[in-house]
């Protein structure tokens, strides 16, 4: 007989029951932010992460950094899912030595100017949403502490983003962090004894729960409802795009789509709706970036499911809370290229915008025409790569800035994944897609060459002064698979 079955060994190994006192206090996870930061001993070389679901109304990132800065902590990496106007004063934390490395999807406003001018010694790593998820899940980026701001949590850390005073909706980006970070801290202005159901963040991942006065500035988190553009140019582009989608026979039963959340890309949904009603088509799902307009399509019965990685207005938040097939998904499920079931691979069509696009159909959504960081990689390259058809919509010129040009200043999305460009001055198809060209020709949709558009734009705005770059590399743009697709240089 093996030792295993020796009852005395077993008793020795496992120990005999010594009694239990039911009234003894269970472990309390609720602490102050200051306590948590001290207890976690965040030091040199560590990485802390945040999400940006509270958008311009985010308060948590600054709260944490301010405390760390006061403590004299130095050389940490911050790893937010993106950076917004709420974070534009972070240059002060770079200068104090607190932040020595940044990984993000987007960077804007003053912080973008600071980084572009060379304030940070190490280059910023720019990743798409899918790329960020990949980096975390593969272990390439290790998160020591994930700070997760939520709208509502219970005392154990079961939390969601759609209840409470200042909801943010889906917590999609943070859901990856919470699974892989060493320590997880949930922070909210609404902490209840009663269990939070439904939850997006389960308490078994959570180490600490913190109550703060205010988790976000309500007016800056999101608007009540996203307004559809009334700009005639944008509407023209949107209508043309919808016509093209129809011509390419994408609109058929159970088709799937994703659109951007503003300008022409969102307005496309308005024209698509008419066509769907006319043809009596129901889409299987819409993915995004969800706004009230897409929610309306769902509630009208035109779209069966909504897969939501980020809510853009309160209508979307309300729907997430109440509509059972409006489903919160995490960033990995959304777009991680190493995740075989990632949803972008199921997209029939995606409609995106661009800051710049060139002859190769390469797209820049990261730097402005002055070379300064002012955008976000987001889900752009992910959806472009995963979708069957990728359409970029944009006016030919914006004011005096050409969108369509000879060569983009920085590449985020490679042209081989971009199929069609729709502008107010004409539509161009990537020569790699002979199938699309043939079909559009057959349906008598007018097409021009991308070169024609480039020349047209240049004729209108004339050639700008070249940008004066410095020697320093201030940003590294990673493609979603982790390889480097471009470098962002310092701007003098």
């Amino acid at each position: 007989m093996e030792d295993r079955y020796d009852i005395n060994e077993l008793l020795k190994e496992k120990g005999t029951f010594t009694g239990i006192d039911k009234s003894k206090r269970k472990k309390n996870k609720v602490r102050s932010l200051k306590y948590v930061i001290d207890a976690l001993d965040i030091k040199d070389g560590m990485t802390i992460s945040f999400h940006h679901h509270f958008r311009n109304g985010d308060l948590l990132a600054d709260m944490v950094l301010e405390l760390l800065d006061k403590k004299g902590t130095k050389n940490i990496t911050i790893f937010p899912s993106s950076l917004t106007t709420a974070h534009d004063h972070f240059g002060q934390y770079i200068q104090s030595g607190l932040i020595s490395r940044i990984c993000t999807s987007g960077i804007r406003d003053r912080l973008g100017e600071d980084i572009s001018s060379g304030m940070l010694d190490t280059p910023v790593i720019i990743r798409s949403h899918g790329g960020r998820a990949r980096a975390i899940e593969s272990g390439e980026e290790k998160i020591d502490v994930a700070f997760i701001a939520v709208a509502h949590s219970d005392v154990n850390g079961n939390a969601n983003g759609f209840e409470g005073v200042s909801p943010c909706g889906s917590l999609g980006y943070s859901m990856v962090d919470m699974k892989h970070a060493d320590k997880v801290v949930v922070v909210s202005d609404l902490i209840t004894e009663e269990i939070t159901i439904p939850f997006s963040v389960p308490s078994y991942n959570v180490d600490y729960v913190v109550k703060v006065e205010k988790i976000g500035i309500k007016e800056k988190i999101m608007s009540g409802a996203t307004r559809l553009t009334t700009n005639p140019k944008e509407l023209l582009i949107a209508k043309r795009t919808a016509d093209i989608i129809e011509a390419l026979e994408i609109i058929k039963e159970n088709f799937t789509f994703q659109t951007g959340t503003g300008g022409s890309s969102l307005a496309v949904t308005r024209f698509m709706r008419d066509k769907m009603i006319e043809k009596k088509i129901v889409a299987d799902f819409a993915l995004g970036g969800i706004t009230g307009h897409i929610v309306r399509l769902h509630e009208e019965g035109l779209v069966r499911k909504l897969l939501d990685v980020q809510c853009f207005d309160l209508d979307a938040v309300f729907s997430l809370k109440n509509n059972i097939r409006h489903f919160e998904i995490d960033a990995s499920f959304y777009a991680n290229p190493e995740n075989p079931g990632c949803v972008v691979n199921k997209l029939d069509v995606v409609v995106l915008s661009a800051l710049e696009i060139d002859r190769n159909f390469d797209v820049n959504v990261m730097t402005g025409s002055d070379g300064i960081l002012r955008g976000a990689s987001g889900g752009h390259c992910d959806t472009a790569a995963g979708s069957k058809i990728c359409i970029v919509t944009s006016p030919l010129v914006r004011g005096r800035i050409a969108t369509v040009k000879d060569k983009v200043l920085n590449i985020v999305t490679p042209g081989s994944t971009v199929d069609i460009l729709v502008t107010d001055h004409g539509t161009a198809v990537n020569p790699l897609r002979k199938d699309i060209m043939a079909l559009l020709k057959e349906k008598k949709i007018p097409i021009v060459s991308i070169d024609t558009l480039v020349e047209m734009a240049e004729k209108i705005v004339k050639k700008p002064n070249p940008i004066v770059y410095g020697d320093k590399v201030v940003g590294v743009i990673e493609y979603r698979d982790g390889s480097i697709i471009d470098l962002v240089k310092q701007v003098i």
Binding site: S369, D370, G399, R400, I401, V461, K462, P464, N465, I467
Partner: protein, 87 residues
């Protein structure tokens, strides 16, 4: 062109330009605030200078607030301001 008083033309709507013309007794000065300063600042200055030359205007202060206007817009607004100043 002889200028008699100060005048203003244009707006600060996107793609437009607001131009003020002030005749004064010293050498001409052109102040430009532009959304596209880096990319087109020089070209805008050249354009304004050439229009002033064409119209034989000097000893003037030109204040420009540009919101990404194209050349023909800048030209039209400047000429309007000059004509108003000459009235």
């Amino acid at each position: 062109m002889k200028l008699n008083k100060r005048a203003i033309a244009g707006t600060m709507t996107s793609s437009d330009v607001m131009i003020e013309v002030i005749p004064w007794g010293k050498t001409s000065e052109i102040n430009i605030k532009s959304d596209v300063e880096k990319q087109y600042g020089d070209q805008i200055l050249d354009l304004i200078n050439s229009i002033l030359r064409e119209n034989d205007v000097d000893n003037v202060c030109i204040n420009v607030v540009d919101k990404g206007a194209l050349d023909f817009t800048i030209s039209a607004r400047l000429k309007t301001a000059l004509f108003r100043a000459a009235k």
